[in-house]
Amino acid sequence: MKLSLDWIRDYVELPEDTDLKKLAYDLTMDTVEVEDVEYLARRFDGMVVGVINEVQPHPNADKLRVCKVDLGAEGEKEIVCGGINLEAGMRVAVAVPGAMVRWHGEGEPVEIKKSKLRGVESYGMICASDEIGLGDLFPSAQEAEILDLSALDCAAGTPLADALDMNDVLLEIDNKSMTNRPDLWGHYGIAREIAALYDLPLKKIEPYVPEASSDFKVEILDPERCARYIGVQIEGVEVKASDYKMQSRIWKVGMRPINALVDITNYVMLATGNPTHAFDADNISDHIVVRRAAADEKLLLLNGKELELCDDDLVITDSEGPVALAGVMGGAKDSILPKTQRVILEVANFESTGIRRTALRYDNRTEASARYEKAIDPERCDQALALSMQFFKELYPGLEVTGYCDLFPTKLKRAEIDLSLEWLERRLGKHLENDQIRRLLERLGFDVQINGDDLHVTAPTWRSTGDISIKDDVMEEVARMYGYDNFEATPFTTSFSAAINQKDQDLLRAIKEYLAIRCDMQEVYTYPWMNDRYVNAVLQSTEGVLSLSTPPAPDLSYIRSSLLPNLCEAVSKNERYSKEFSIFEEAQVFFDRNYSSPYDPTEALPEQRRHIAAAMAGAADSVERLFRELKGALEYMPRYTHMEGFSFRKEEKPVWADDVVWLNVFLGDERIGDLGLLNKKVSMDCEIRNLAVMLFELDVTRLKPLRSRTNRFTHLAEYPETDYDISMLFDSSSAWTDMEAAAMEGGELIKRVSFVDEYHGKQIPEGKKSVTLRLTIGSKEKTLTSQEIEEAAGRVMKKLGKKLGAELRAQ
């Protein structure tokens, strides 16, 4: 919302030397956020009023003229101009060379330069209204029409801002910051707040004294939705322009002046925050009735929209039917027309939520509905009425009030709140004297009674529409009037009972740090919704997958039940830039099942789990290495992050996995995840072109952190241990786990057996593979001789031969 400082000054006596930066700061700190303070005159820097002395044709151009223009102190200058309405004696707006002009009042300032136009030197430029952002205030009748300022009584050379009375300051207030303060919508409301903050006198708007009662009649059939309705019938008006002050103020705060009848209603709304409306009285049959619409009624709005009403809509009607959508917009039938001579002025109060429902229902939010939605106090009608009548009389001195009716069926009760001074002091963290509390609240219009420790507060009507309702609201008023900056920070007291011990949190962090730092993986974040392409490719079914009713895009409606689709998408996106990389993500997944809630028996939340998944991508021929690295990351995870260990088995192949390269991960008997190679088809469907992708996904919710570190210290070997490598030929299908088990049966001197490598190649017969095992051989009793070591290794080879048919590789 934009506010004019001149306008605010109509209602509060702000000292001339008020520091506007400070005013903006104080309003921001204590009341509403002032987003910008604009010195309006700066839009017209370098522009002056010129008087055209002579208009000559341009020697080289039919459409251009050469004007001799009196610029006051700068003397007479020649300016080339293409305006169609140039005449000697005319006052015009001139942007002179060197002036920095913000075209249309926007953007970066541009310097006006002397220049030649078709061979003739031009000293600056004679402006049209829309070239300098004044198009709405001085609409031009046709194109290339120069702004004619002849009506202004000012000398040549007068700065344009002075001539147009633009030495005002505009405050831009963030609407969001005052959604809860309907009393602030309008210049009067902000003036009232400034008066309270600075303890300045606020000017009263003297109430209108009715001049006619007659038999003018209004009926309210729904007093809950219409708390008050004032109708005033005025004769002897006509459609004409309002005065410049009214026009320019309406323009300054961002609306368009139209004609005097419309301008008065808009001006009053901008001043008081209470919308008003004027009907053409000749178009109203019989009298006005405020009621709910009937379900079959229709209404053609001013903007041409034809509505089929429903019985939740409040309408203003005459004997023929609805003439206006109450608080939202007038109907086409009752509009002010060029021949209007009698009007009915409506100053009314409508209930906020009903107005909001209607405006939303027809997608027809207006300046009026935006204000009524905030809950306006019905007392404000008095100010709106008084101001309206004042302007009607100023603009139409000959008018006659022929009808007046003020129905006020639903009075607003002022909010009353009781609190104790002890409570207030405890919550403020600071002692304030009773008198100080009283004064701060009274400045805001509250009535205050203090009785011992009891504080009884009555809010003013304009704060009683919901804004002030509990004692915390009163505390806030005291605190902000005292100034939040004036409260010192108070450290909170600590009472430590026990050290915080959150095993689950610590485990999750340990796993992420383990993957990032030890396993060389980069953490990524992706969205919870999945692209259909990746859902189809990776999950291959949407059974049990939840979806959004208003997704970010039509193909992003499913929300994840697995992290893998989005990880595959991330691999595909990164393939362009990198040939080998590893990524992981930790996030929630959702399942359309097991609806319940531990917090509220009625709440039905779906099953939600936390997963961690990783993708390791590399060259197509590195499958074996990728597999061992990713499997290693899982195998060592429990050991490094201190949780119960997993085992690996083949039980059920994940749909996305290669036929051979996959494992299920188990914790005890529970399957907690999968590991495997993304199969060729899925890879292609995911648009992963060349890379082999190894994946795992684990359900973190099922992991079991250890109570403490549980691995035991083992004594260092007293006698040396020796590594002894043996390479043997096995059947291609032999499993390492069987080899390891067999080798360990080679006697108690065999301390460990580890995998060195596996070889398939030219020298190896078909159907066989060569595997190199490393035996760690040692004794608890003595240092072994080389013969004893050889013998131990020999026993292992024998075992391998017997159990698995292994043969020593021919040298």
Binding site: M29, G429, D472, R480, T494, Q505, L548, S549, Q608
Partner: protein, 346 residues
């Protein structure tokens, strides 16, 4: 004899002094104490000396021999230590090798852990909740009026097929964390203090400053006599942790349905130091978080008596903080999974 030995020793010293290699030293050794060396020859002459002089001369010769051996040994050690294994042209300006690990945590995770550490040290627990919540917890329990615009589908991601008309069954991706805080308050006994990091979702058009999914960090303390002025300490802790220095902070009036009083909390612009620049729109302050005391209705919804308990809450946007920490200018990069971006924060 004495004279001869002296002369030899002089020659020995000068030749050792000028020797630059092991081979030269070997040479020196053989020409003085070798079989045909000059000192050895003198030794052979010893028997021809007068008996009375023989003992004295033998002693001198032996001393000289030991001395030569020692000098040579010293010089040998000296040469050995002086020798460099590498060429004098070794280029020390060649860049170092990067650590082999190329992994890293997401910059938002890093920020979150930094804050967790700071709050843990002040006795705060870490709380985690589910992403999908119900309208009951997202709005009803937070004192949002029935007709609040945030409830509309244009602002919140509602789940398909979960609108039975009851708010306890109407589901959405959580639009903020505060509803989850009510869950914590319901299930714990006050006084308590906790932080609650998490991702939230808003149905809006994205651009460099707006995202549909972003991270919040909520901190809440509830006790019998917490005042809003204690909040200043909480806010200061967050910002000094993030920026490594005390950042001036101001609290100003702000309205949110779930707090009373409510604040907008601004920090001094760290780009211009408060003087005003384009980043802070020339006001010197940047809005970083809302805060306030939980509204009595929110405390009641969590089963607490607002006459007995009060508290202070702040909710900070992690994305925004990370953007300020590193100068990131597009919030959408955080969910891009683009390694060229993420690799910069290892």
């Amino acid at each position: 004899m004495n004279e001869k030995i002296k002369a030899i020793m002089e020659e020995v010293r000068s030749r050792i002094g000028s020797a630059g290699s092991e081979a030269e030293l070997q040479n020196v050794k053989s020409s003085f104490v070798g079989k045909q060396g000059s000192l050895s020859l003198l030794m052979k002459d010893l028997p021809q000396l007068e008996v009375s002089l023989r003992a004295e001369a033998g002693k001198l010769l032996n001393q000289a021999k030991n001395q030569i051996t020692e000098l040579i040994e010293n010089k040998r050690m000296e040469l050995k230590l002086k020798a460099s294994e590498v060429s004098p042209d070794f280029d020390c300006s060649v860049p170092g090798l990067a650590p082999r690990s190329k992994g890293g945590l997401h910059p938002i995770t890093q920020m979150c852990y930094d804050l967790n550490d700071a709050f843990r040290s002040m006795g705060f627990e870490i709380f985690q909740e589910d992403d999908i919540t119900s309208e009951l917890y997202a709005f009803d329990k937070l004192n949002f009026p029935q007709n609040h615009p945030a409830r509309e589908s244009m602002d919140t991601y509602w789940l398909e097929g979960h609108d039975s008309g009851k708010t306890c069954e109407k589901l959405c991706l959580r639009p903020h964390l505060t509803g989850g805080s009510v869950r914590y308050m319901q299930t714990h006994k006050p006084p308590f203090r906790f932080v609650y990091p998490g991702r939230v979702y808003r149905n809006e058009t994205t651009d460099a400053h707006h995202e549909r999914a972003f991270f919040q960090y909520e901190a809440l303390i509830v006790d019998k006599d917490i005042t809003f002025t204690s909040g200043k300490v909480m806010i200061g802790s967050i910002l000094s942790k993030v920026f490594g220095t005390d950042v001036p902070v101001r609290m100003r009036s702000g309205f949110f349905p779930f707090v009373e009083p409510g604040f907008e909390i601004d920090m001094q612009c760290q780009v211009c130091g408060g003087k005003g620049c384009s980043v802070c729109k020339h006001v010197g302050w940047i809005e970083v978080m809302p805060g306030g005391s939980p509204h009595p209705n929110v405390l009641r919804a969590a089963g607490l008596d607002p006459d007995e308990y009060t508290g202070f809450y702040v909710n900070i946007g992690l994305d925004r903080l990370v953007m300020m920490r590193y100068g990131v200018d597009d919030v959408r990069l955080f969910h891009s999974a683009d390694l060229r971006f993420l690799e910069q924060f290892r």
